[in-house]
């Protein structure tokens, strides 16, 4: 946003980002600030017209929680920029994982609370009162204002989510991905809320609690999904794509690159996601005896040339691939 921020160079620890990734990081940072600005308006407007509607309360809570991912992203981006030090030899990449975990826990807790709240409202048969509001001297049923405000919150969120999604993939940033995913799904909250308020309007008292339940269930679902992938990454699970759906293609590419070197007999590696960048331990067995220093350097260069995410790499020459360190060997010998 500020002049200084635009000129700042982006790096993840020792990794200086290539120009296209740098542009993506810059754009993502701008979008995170834009999201925060939009959320400030959304939270204020929803709070002003919220009244006693459960669905509006749930939508408001979701908007409030939506502050966490962009803030976590901005903090993590700043922290991961630090160069590794003697005390932190692996750098500060894990801050992404921590941010992700915090955001997921907040979603899970709030989702669970809101599900409880709307179910008890439904069971107690709470009839939400929605009366008049005076806006600039005009008397208007507050339900109409709620519908307008909810409709407003749908549109920018979806646009922001769509803009952030490809950047999250490019930067391999799970917090940004979770943020984009939530934004993209935010229109369901808006539409759910609108259905609830219109339900109250036509005299269906349960529509409000039912809509609130739908919204809170989606918050809870987001929480569970994100908590899973955040914990998996912090537990050093095999590196996956940013949405956690499948193994990251770089894992296979690293092994293939090493096996493609003429002096290499067999090779396998284990790759963990540190947040943005990977930590790779590659084991190579040379065709005849001990590889030379040049050959090892060649292997190192070949792998690190694959992608900016692979710079923290250890190449270990071994007699035989160690099965206890590479459990995948048991399944794919």
């Amino acid at each position: 946003m500020t002049q200084g921020a635009v000129e700042q160079s982006f790096r993840f620890g020792n990794t200086e980002l290539p120009p296209d990734a740098r542009d993506a990081a810059r754009k993502a940072k701008r979008l995170a600030w834009l999201t925060i600005a939009f959320l400030v308006t959304a939270v204020t407007l929803v709070y002003l017209v919220m009244g006693s509607s459960q669905a509006m309360k749930a939508a408001w809570a979701e908007d409030l929680l939506s502050f966490i991912p962009p803030i976590a992203f901005l903090v993590a981006l700043r922290v991961t920029g630090r160069v590794p030090s003697e005390k932190h030899p692996y750098g500060y990449h894990r801050s992404v994982g921590i941010g992700h975990l915090v955001a997921a826990t907040a979603l899970l807790t709030m989702g669970a609370f809101l599900v409880f709240d709307s179910v008890s409202g439904l069971l107690a048969g709470e009839h939400p009162p929605v009366g008049l509001i005076v806006v600039l001297g005009h008397e208007i049923w507050s339900g109409w204002l709620m519908v307008i405000v909810l409709a407003y919150t749908c549109v920018p969120a979806v646009l922001l989510g769509r803009a952030k999604m490809p950047l999250a993939e490019q930067l391999h940033d799970r917090v940004l991905h979770a943020d984009a995913d939530m934004n993209k799904a935010d229109w369901m909250t808006g539409v759910g809320g609108i259905v609830g308020v219109l339900g109250i309007g036509v005299g269906l008292w349960w529509a409000d609690s039912a809509a609130a339940l739908f919204i809170s269930a989606s918050i809870l679902h987001d929480g569970v999904k994100n908590l899973r992938s955040a914990v998996a990454a912090l537990m050093d699970a095999r590196a996956t794509t940013v949405d956690g759906s499948e193994p990251h293609p770089l894992g296979g590419a690293i092994d293939e690159t090493l096996r493609g070197l003429e002096w290499v007999g067999s090779a396998a590696s284990r790759v963990r996601d540190q947040g943005h960048v990977f930590h790779v331990e590659a084991f190579v067995v040379a065709r005849d005896g001990m590889p030379t220093q040049e050959q090892l350097q060649q292997a190192w260069d070949a792998v690190t040339d694959l992608d900016w995410k692979v710079e923290d790499l250890v190449v270990v020459p071994v007699d035989e691939l160690p099965e206890e360190l590479l459990p995948g060997l048991r399944r794919h010998p």
């Binding site: 006693s52 709470e126 009839h127 939400p128 009162p129 929605v130 009366g131 008049l132 509001i133 005076v134 008397e139 049923w141 339900g143 409709a151 749908c154 549109v155 979806v158 229109w187 369901m188 539409v191 759910g192 609108i194 259905v195 219109l198 339900g199 109250i200 309007g201 036509v202 005299g203 269906l204 008292w205 529509a207 739908f214």
Partner: protein, 171 residues
Amino acid sequence: MTSNVAMTTTTGRPAVTAAAAVLALGVLAGCGVTVPTDPDGTLDRVRGGELRVGVSPHEPWTVPVPDGTPTGLEVDLVEGFAQSLDADVVWTTGGEEELVGDLERGALDLVVGGFTASSPWTSKAAVTVSYVTVTDPDGKPEGHVMLTPMGENAFLVELERYLLDQEVQAP
């Protein structure tokens, strides 16, 4: 049934869903449903019938008269509102808790007693908009409201419109 249309399409595109919601609303409006509507039909019952009002003493807003109709600013407002609906007022005098309990049970349609917008009864009763603002003993502005049954929104809105139209001056 029409609200189901909007619910099931939430898996589709936002524009489609919004259109479905508008359509559902249009269908309902076409069926002669006014927005808002009372789930329990309070407004329809009161119109041309009787308005059951609980009154808790709080001068000068409500002044109970032994064996007679209470008086006071809010009593006059309620009488006027009943008249606008062609209804007769049936007064019940009592303590706040008892009256709010009757309101929750559906034995009363309206409770007055000099309540303010910061009333502790807001979780048990629907409060109207502030129809007049006075200065409390601490010098803070305080809006005065009446209590209606939870969720009877057509009745609530009808009463609020009436109260705002009166342009009540602080006593």
